[in-house]
């Protein structure tokens, strides 16, 4: 290596060290980064994913108005839980509550429990607080808050929609078995998280 090339390399290395922010590829900042960060957050934990899909499945089994009311109640109450988490207000046994939500909601789907609408809404809302709290407490400070919140809520809503779409299979006998099997899988996942 000649001295000119060596000097150039030295200069480039120095420049790279002086401007580290330029080299960051995924900062999670800005509107797009914030939305993406928020959107991916609920998808990052299997315990959250199964519970949110279970809400959609159970709603589909209960039919109207629960089919749309439960997916409306969950994100709204989850946001309240998220607010508690952001503010650092203590909520006991959050992780246990999340694991139990998988078990309870999974069993509701497995046995296609025909709970009254108010009871179903209360069950879903109570668990939503735990899920929201966990997300709120982990909220990254760097992300654009509004975009992060939008991504977070949209992802949650779309997970419910996935559950509703799968739940639409119940109109066929084989489909009903598939949905109930999903409930078993969700309950077992919850149990795994509870014991893990």
């Amino acid at each position: 290596m000649n001295s000119r090339t060596a000097r150039s390399l030295y200069f480039l290395t120095l420049l790279a060290l002086l401007l580290p922010a330029v080299a960051e590829a995924h900062t999670g900042a800005g509107v797009v980064g914030g939305f993406k960060s928020g959107f991916l957050h609920p998808l990052g934990g299997l315990d959250h994913v199964v519970a949110m899909v279970a809400v959609g499945l159970w709603g589909a089994q209960l039919g109207a108005p629960a089919i749309w009311l439960l997916p409306v109640a969950f994100p709204l109450v989850m946001a309240v839980g998220g607010a508690l988490g952001v503010r650092g207000i203590p909520v006991p046994a959050v992780e246990t509550g999340i694991a139990i939500s998988g078990i309870v909601l999974g069993l509701m789907v497995t046995f296609a429990v025909r709970a009254p609408l108010a009871v179903a809404a209360v069950i879903v809302s109570v668990f939503a607080v735990f899920h929201g709290y966990a997300h709120g407490a982990e909220l990254p400070t760097a992300a654009a808050p509004l975009a992060y919140s939008a991504g977070f809520v949209v992802a949650t809503g779309l997970l419910h929609a996935c559950g509703i779409a799968i739940g639409a299979l119940i109109q066929w006998k084989a489909g009903d078995r598939i949905v109930r099997t999903c409930g078993v899988a969700i309950a077992l996942t919850g149990l795994w998280f509870l014991l893990g």
Binding site: V31, W68, P71, V72, P75, L76, M78, A79, V80, G82, A83, L84, V86, R87, G136, L139, P145, L146, A147, S149, A150, F152, V153, V154, G157
Partner: protein, 198 residues
């Protein structure tokens, strides 16, 4: 062999290109239509203003066609008043928080598909228009505020009209539930925003 004159000309062309790099930008809408286009886009590309506008459109559309028409007529005047205030006065400290509360109020009412008394419905629309017009204008650094304000009024009214038309024309049943679910999401976003205090 390239003639010396041609080489000089090519050299001058390269130098000129290097001297004016901004001329190479492909998409500079503000340059084309000035502050009007900037004002047109500003509230529509900011989630702070676009999401409540969507929730408001759902709420107003739920009140029926007649009220929706009145809403389209009221909006531009109220938003223009807000924009005028935003360009001439300091942004009150409470206004950003009030606008975030608007996420929850507008989204919650639209999710519940609440039938509002006419005066209350109009009052909510006017308050939302003035609040967002004020905040939108206060955050803008522009050369011609009048053009920017006119652009914002035009853009938001145009989008409100489109959204109202879309929601009003939805058939009863499932199609009308979709905007309500979206409105509930906007309310949830508002709750999180208020918790974040930003």
């Amino acid at each position: 062999m390239v003639p010396a004159r041609l080489r000089r000309l090519a050299g001058a062309a390269v130098l000129a290109t290097a001297t004016f790099p901004t001329r190479a930008f492909a998409h500079t809408p503000s340059e084309r239509l000035g502050d009007f286009w900037g004002g047109f886009l500003h509230p529509l590309v900011s989630l702070e203003h676009a999401l409540p506008l969507l929730a408001l459109a759902v709420l107003v559309a739920q009140q029926g066609r007649d009220r929706a028409r009145t809403g389209v007529l009221l909006w531009p005047f109220a938003f223009a008043i807000g924009a005028a205030l935003g360009f001439t006065r300091e942004l009150p400290a409470f206004l950003p928080t009030a606008n975030r509360i608007g996420f929850v109020v507008l989204g919650g009412l639209a999710a519940a598909s609440w039938r509002l008394p006419r005066a209350l419905g109009s009052g909510i629309l006017i308050a939302a228009a003035i609040g967002h017009g004020f905040e939108n204008a206060a955050g803008a650094i522009v050369r011609r505020p009048m053009l920017f304000g006119a652009g914002s009024v035009t853009g938001t009214t145009f989008v409100l009209l489109l959204l109202l038309g879309a929601v009003v024309s939805l058939r009863a049943g499932w199609p009308r539930l979709v905007p309500r679910v979206v409105a509930s999401w906007i309310a949830a976003i508002g709750v999180m925003m208020l918790a974040l205090g930003r």
